[in-house]
């Protein structure tokens, strides 16, 4: 517990995110009920929860994809202006008719000048280790490579806030570990605020400064992760925390056991 998380860049660039009493209902079904959450600039927060717990809904609200909520959401960058969140989805969502480099440049938005955009896209592609694949169609890439292109597209505009909706969920175990260290590396280098939704407790513990457990539309647990980076999954304390979190996650399931025969 004495170890302090290694965050050399915290507060330099990231946006702060403040959620006040967020409530979101679909019809009569309240998915989120009064969620309060504060994310500090440059912090990496993981949101875990059962499927249907409302974690993806919360993420969509933070990302600006859903504005039919009650309560208040404030995203403030260090520069004082409001910034748009960048999103990584579970699917890469690359444009199949654009080359890899065009897909990355797409992340700069419609106003970007083509020449400038390409130069920046090159840098972003290099950062995810795909600098030599810019001229190819996305279709020829593997699943992990496509997600790396999607990451480059999200980062090319140098966002203050990156939200990730189970971006590694569809990858195989080995690729996922590689992607996790890539994510951690770019986060450490660039200092943006990251909010990750995942159902993988080990992934949350590997990456996040804080893990938030959502249960029945409310925050049930908010746990600071005190490990040094890079983190070792084999460590005893890591295992204990993983166990604690998993127990909490599984307990939240028992409330929906009305479906069990």
């Amino acid at each position: 517990m004495s170890a302090v998380a290694f965050k050399p860049n915290q507060g330099e660039r990231g946006a702060s995110v403040v959620l006040r009493h967020i409530t979101r209902s679909f019809g009569t079904n309240a998915v989120l009920e009064g969620v309060d959450l504060e994310v500090k600039p440059g912090e990496f927060v993981a949101i875990v929860g059962q499927s249907g717990s409302g974690k993806s809904t919360l993420l969509r609200i933070i990302a600006g994809l859903d504005d039919a909520y009650e309560g208040s959401l404030t995203i403030g960058s260090m520069k004082g202006q409001k910034t748009a969140a960048r999103i990584m989805y579970q699917e890469p969502r690359l444009l199949p008719w654009a080359s890899v480099i065009d897909n990355v440049a797409f992340g700069l938005g419609p106003q970007a000048s083509r020449h400038q955009a390409f130069a920046q896209a090159r840098v972003a592609l290099d950062a995810v280790g795909l600098g030599d694949r810019g001229g190819e169609w996305p279709e020829v890439l593997s699943g992990g490579q496509k997600q790396r292109v999607a990451l480059a597209r999200a980062l090319v505009s140098k966002p203050d806030l990156l939200v990730l909706d189970e971006p590694l969920g569809a990858l195989d175990a080995l690729t996922r570990i590689g992607m996790q260290s890539l994510l951690e590396r770019v986060w450490l280098e660039q200092g943006f605020t990251a909010i990750l939704v995942t159902h993988d407790v080990a992934e949350a513990l590997t990456l996040a400064d804080r893990v938030v457990l959502i249960e029945n539309g409310q925050i049930a647990l908010d746990l600071a992760i005190p490990f040094d980076r890079p983190r070792r999954r084999g460590a005893v304390r890591f295992g204990e925390l993983e166990d604690q979190l998993l127990t909490a996650l599984l307990k939240s399931k028992s409330k929906t056991e009305e479906y069990v025969i």
């Binding site: 990302a63 600006g64 994809l65 748009a84 960048r86 999103i87 989805y89 699917e91 969502r93 444009l95 199949p96 008719w97 654009a98 080359s99 480099i101 797409f106 992340g107 700069l108 938005g109 419609p110 106003q111 390409f118 130069a119 090159r122 600098g131 030599d132 810019g134 001229g135 190819e136 169609w137 279709e139 597209r153």
Partner: protein, 280 residues
Amino acid sequence: MSELTLGAVRHVNRKSGALASFFRISPKGLIPWLLPLGILVVWQASASFGALPPSILPAPFDVAKAAWRLLLSGELIANAAISFRRAISGLVVGGSIAFLFGLSNGLSRLSERSTDTTIQMVRNIPNLALIPLVILWFGIGEEAKLFLVSFGVFFPIYINTFHGIRTVDPQLVEMARSYGFKGFELFRRVILPGALPSILVGLRYALGIMWLTLIVAETIAAQSGLGYMAMSAREFMQTDVVVLAILIYALLGKLADGSVRIIERVTLSWHPAYRKGARL
């Protein structure tokens, strides 16, 4: 930067590769032509041995002679050019109106609600059934042909444009919106390329209908064009010219279809189904 230009060059290569592979004649590329060639041989043989009377079906050689004769007199070229111009103008007029309706109804629910039902009703009228009415309206002038061809090509292009736009992956649209794309830029970068495969399928259908409609219209009511050439040849019992006209229809149809295939290869080279080597 050099990598960048390399990427661009690779693109160009891929596109010209699609063109090259279309025109390249390889042993495999000859297979589609074996059957027509075989039919031609059997046909010539049965005509030469007297099994086929020339008044029913002239020998291929006689048809070729008729082609040469009409080519020299300039009649063939003139008629083919007129038919071609009619076909293309009908396609352009009907196709662009259909494309605009398809876009508007695909993009806006209000527009769809206002016009789609009407279009679906009109769609079920066979366009050739309109010929008597069209003759009453326009006589046998160019307008009649333009109207009929435009009417015929409208529906396949409309339906496929509409369908293509509606089936663009909503996840891609959401992604693009989150990066600030909206309005025309969203349309140009995401919706149009996503709808293009379907639009081109509509174009292929439309080309078939285009020739069909035009030939029938020219056969019934015209004073020039390939259909007219065939009809007037019938009156003089020139079976060879009639057969020649029919063969030219087949050729024109193949030509039209081939040109859309080239457009598909070039514009859809990102699509696995249209890539080099993937024959449709």
